[in-house]
């Protein structure tokens, strides 16, 4: 099992446990865990409705692609450790990470 933590938009932190071989993106796991993530574009790094801040463990995650960085760069509320959850794979590297849901930009 991989275990990581998610902080919702009200600051409540919960631990999420996922089997290692699941091959999903963090966005898909967040949606399946009933977090209010719209994911309008379905995971193509187009809408940024799954914008998260990685508060712990960013150095271990897969690196963002240019497409993801370009999208993050346009977001008014982006921070240094911003990622799009749809572009972060769920694997052992996520163990112990703390992900915080960002407010959705209009």
């Amino acid at each position: 099992m991989i275990s990581f933590q998610v902080e919702d938009r009200n600051g409540v932190v919960q631990t999420v446990e996922i089997p290692e071989d699941i091959n999903l993106s963090v966005m898909e796991v967040l949606k399946a865990s009933e977090y209010p993530v719209l994911a309008t574009c379905g995971g193509m790094a187009l809408c940024a409705t799954c914008h998260i801040e990685v508060k712990r463990g960013i150095e271990k995650l897969n690196s963002p692609t240019d497409t993801e960085l370009d999208m993050i760069d346009t977001l008014p509320n982006a921070v240094t450790n911003s990622r799009l959850a749809c572009q972060v794979r769920v694997n052992a590297q996520l163990e112990g990470a703390l992900l915080s849901l960002m407010e959705e930009s209009n």
């Binding site: 719209l38 309008t40 574009c41 379905g42 193509m44 187009l46 809408c47 940024a48 409705t49 960085l69 370009d70 999208m71 760069d73 346009t74 977001l75 008014p76 509320n77 982006a78 407010e103 930009s105 209009n106």
Partner: protein, 334 residues
């Protein structure tokens, strides 16, 4: 005024295939799309990407699928209003509809099918208090007429290509341009970034890096913009205009005001025929939602087929529909 049986909002793959299913039942279609070409996301965003889950095509490039769909619906002579957004929907006393577009094209139809995909891409807004108070009164999200900024003070916010390009362009026209960007560097086109740096060095623009917008102030109209600089110090700049250029984000747009039952940014439908809560309006493809919804092109194709069966009773209220296979009946062109 264009008169047709079905007005389809959205000319993506699902909207296009709906023309085929409607055509088999002798219903004519007119499609409207905000994009200047057909194909929706497939043509606009990933024309060269292969798609692997279209039945019968082990692999097909997105643009090829669009071209094939156009060929498939050709017998049914669909008509198009491209580069236009449907801005309003009006219901006539006889139950028919009039759709009006951003170019004032009017489409009179018996059935409306919303196949709008992700919706319209609209400018993304920064989260600032009182932002809406100054929209159109100093805050603009799009540069439509550059001349409106002649001899004015402008603050442009953002770091993408459009922020860079407009900074370069407006530097010549405006009295003063300040570009505020969150990062220390730009990810936009390197030549544009170089030009912006050169303009800043020549004193032609003010370049404010590693800074975030914090607030907008004014008295009826925008007067100043505040931001936190590199050292997190609060700064204020007097300005006539703030132009936030933070890219586009998909939104439902005017469709959200038509009295349809919505769930977040999707339209609730009945899976019997993908009808909405408003009689005569259907929603198919990525824009609808229902228990178990999968945002797949193939799901949208299926939804279009079922929609057409129910749309028939609005177009031909006095006729009985008898379902026929294309293998038996062929495709009878209009």
């Amino acid at each position: 005024m264009i008169t047709t049986d079905i007005g389809i909002i959205g000319a993506g793959p699902v909207g296009l295939f709906a023309v085929f299913e409607a055509g088999l039942l002798k219903m004519r279609c007119h499609l409207i799309d905000v994009l200047p070409q057909v194909g929706g996301q497939l043509s606009e965003i990933y024309p060269k990407k292969p798609i692997y889950d279209i039945p019968g095509f082990p692999e097909v490039k997105a643009q090829e699928l669009v071209e094939n769909l156009m060929k498939q619906i050709e017998p049914f002579k669909p008509t198009f209003s491209l580069g236009e957004r449907v801005d309003s929907l009006m219901r006539n006393e006889d139950g028919t509809f009039v759709l009006t577009t951003s170019d004032q094209t009017e489409i009179h139809c018996k059935v409306v099918v919303i196949a709008g995909g992700l919706g319209c891409f609209e400018p993304r807004k920064p989260e600032l208090q009182n932002l809406d108070r100054f929209e159109g009164k100093g805050i603009v999200y799009m540069v439509k007429d550059p001349d409106a900024f002649r001899n004015k003070k402008l603050v442009i916010a953002g770091g993408g290509d459009s922020a860079l390009d407009w900074t370069i362009y407006l530097a010549e026209i405006a009295e003063k341009v300040t570009l505020i960007h969150r990062n220390e560097s730009f990810r936009g086109a390197p030549d544009s970034a170089e030009k912006v740096h050169a303009l800043a060095q020549a004193g032609k623009i003010d370049l404010v890096l590693s800074s975030n917008l914090l607030a907008v102030q004014g008295n009826g109209v925008l007067k100043s913009v505040s931001y936190a600089d590199k050292e997190k110090q609060l700064r204020e700049i007097e300005t006539d205009y703030l132009i936030p250029l933070f890219g586009l984000s998909p939104k439902l747009g005017p469709i959200a005001d038509w009295g349809l039952s919505l769930d977040k940014s999707a339209i609730n439908v009945n899976t019997f025929d993908y009808s909405t809560n408003v009689e005569g309006i259907f929603a198919i493809g990525d824009i609808n939602t229902y228990p178990g919804k999968l945002k797949l092109i193939l799901s949208g194709f299926h939804e279009g087929a079922l929609m057409a069966q129910s749309a028939f009773k609005f177009v031909y209220p006095d006729q009985k529909l008898s379902f026929k296979y294309t293998t038996v009946n062929g495709v009878n062109a209009f």
